[in-house]
């Protein structure tokens, strides 16, 4: 088992899934191109199929749960708010009655306008959430470094994500400790606002204090050395097919722009 684990690092990291095994830059190009196409088209007849396509890709990649945990929340908020807001905002002029919900008259024009906007937001969000749900951040940073980005930038992104996890845990601990010391965390808004400072203060000062030690520790591990870095996990570089896919995605995005102008 040990040798199997060690040998897994001797070749490119693969999962056997087509979408997951795409180079992160290829995936980013495809997702960005489709996200922008949703902004360009601004039409529910394009947006709905795009949202469904994102769900299908997530399902095929075996990441539907992770994807839908995030996407479901965005969908719920956007659909609810935009539909209601449009019905409130567009009630005058040349409007056609659509449905009546408990005495509240809905109009067709405002409903369609709402769904154009909803699918524009959800198409854009779906494409990006799909990318992040199917691409580990360390792989994305690795790919950027291969393109020449500084390892310091990778550090900023990856350390930020780790710090968020660490500080989140610490914030709950500090809040519980402050509660047990008698600081009120329930009550009116001012009482709760006052409890914010004794929680954030120790958290941030503790984090800042550890920065110096971290800087020394990182330098001791040759963080500042100016030479090519090595990597434990290696990803396959983008093949010609993958590069063609990226170009095709952006050509498609440009085509939607042309289509929008012609229409």
């Amino acid at each position: 088992m040990d040798s199997e684990f060690i040998n897994s690092f001797r070749s490119y990291q693969k999962t056997g899934n087509f979408w997951l095994d795409l180079n992160p830059i290829t995936k980013l190009n495809i997702c960005l191109a489709f996200a922008f196409s949703a902004l360009i088209m601004l039409d529910w007849r394009y947006g709905i199929p795009l949202c469904l396509a994102c769900c299908v890709v997530a399902l095929l990649a075996g990441k539907f749960k992770v994807f839908f945990d995030m996407y479901g929340k965005v969908c719920m908020i956007v659909i609810l708010f935009v539909t209601i807001v449009r019905q409130i905002g567009m009630r005058t002029g040349n409007v056609t009655p659509f449905i009546n919900i408990f005495g509240w008259q809905w109009y067709l024009e405002s409903f369609v306008a709402g769904w154009d906007r909803i699918t524009f937001i959800l198409g854009f969000s779906g494409s990006l959430i799909l990318f992040f749900a199917t691409t580990p951040m360390r792989d994305l940073m690795y790919s950027f470094e291969q393109l020449g980005m500084s390892h310091e930038n990778s550090f900023i992104m990856l350390a930020s994500m780790q710090n968020i996890i660490d500080l989140k845990k610490a914030s709950v601990t500090i809040l519980e400790s402050q509660k047990s010391r008698g600081i009120e965390t329930d009550g009116n808004i001012l009482v709760r606002a006052k409890a914010f400072f004794p929680t954030l203060g120790p958290l941030l000062l503790g984090a800042i204090a550890s920065t110096e030690e971290k800087a020394i520790a990182m330098d001791a591990r040759a963080f500042s050395v100016k030479r090519k870095h090595t990597f434990l996990r290696e990803l396959a570089p983008a093949s010609t097919t993958q590069k063609t896919l990226s170009i095709a995605a952006w050509v498609f995005c440009a085509a939607t722009l042309v289509f929008r102008f012609i229409r």
Binding site: F81, I164, L167, A209, T211, A215
Partner: protein, 205 residues
């Protein structure tokens, strides 16, 4: 970013802390059931201590990481970037050394967050109300007082942002005052916050 513009090592290590604090501020607000964002404390502290570029990076990366779960926040990255620039500028002017001036600075941050934010929402949502908490206040303003939609959105966002930014700058002020002199001396704008008494002691040494 960092390979083109030189950032000193300590500032580089403070950037991820600033980004994490932006997240945790919002998290604590949620735990305390406060209807506020409190997601710019890290940007303001890093901008005030390390300067414009680290402030911009904290603002930008915070929104990029936020966009993982809510991609629309990517459009609002410009607000957080402007918080970083404003914090560095105000810090150089010594604003964060006085509590009164710090409180006043919340107006500028609220104008960026509420003013520019409502403009972003206005364009993004097709010249209509957005999906944020501010819409809950903006819609009644439009419906009952008959105010134009944009004005209602602006008043609601600015009103909410002013309370948010007052708490944000108070937290940032407290943190800047509490950082040890030994640490401040190593940061690009840290010297601004070293108290005169400490400087006198240093001179004597």
């Amino acid at each position: 970013m960092a390979n083109k513009i030189k950032i000193d090592k300590l500032s580089l290590f403070l950037i991820p802390i600033g980004i994490a604090v932006n997240f945790i501020g919002g998290q604590i607000a949620l735990l305390l059931k406060l209807p506020l964002y409190l997601d710019a404390i890290g940007t303001i502290v890093v901008g005030a201590l390390c300067g414009v570029v680290p402030g911009i990076i904290v603002g930008l990366v915070s929104n990029v990481l936020n966009s993982i779960s809510d991609p629309i926040t990517l459009f609002y990255a410009i607000l957080n970037i402007m918080f970083g620039i404003a914090a560095a500028y105000l810090s150089k002017k010594g604003v964060f050394k006085s509590f009164g001036k710090t409180l006043l600075s919340s107006l500028l941050f609220a104008l960026i967050g509420g003013g520019l934010g409502s403009l972003m929402t206005w364009v993004l949502y097709g010249f209509d109300f957005g999906t944020g908490t501010s819409s809950i206040f903006a819609i009644p303003l439009h419906e009952t007082l008959g105010l134009p939609k944009f004005l209602s959105q602006f008043i609601a966002e600015f009103g909410m942002d002013i309370f948010d930014k007052v708490l944000t700058v108070i937290a940032a002020f407290g943190i800047l005052q509490a950082i040890p002199t030994r640490f401040l001396a190593k940061l690009p704008l840290g010297k601004i916050y070293i108290k005169d008494a400490d400087l006198a002691l240093e001179d004597e040494d």
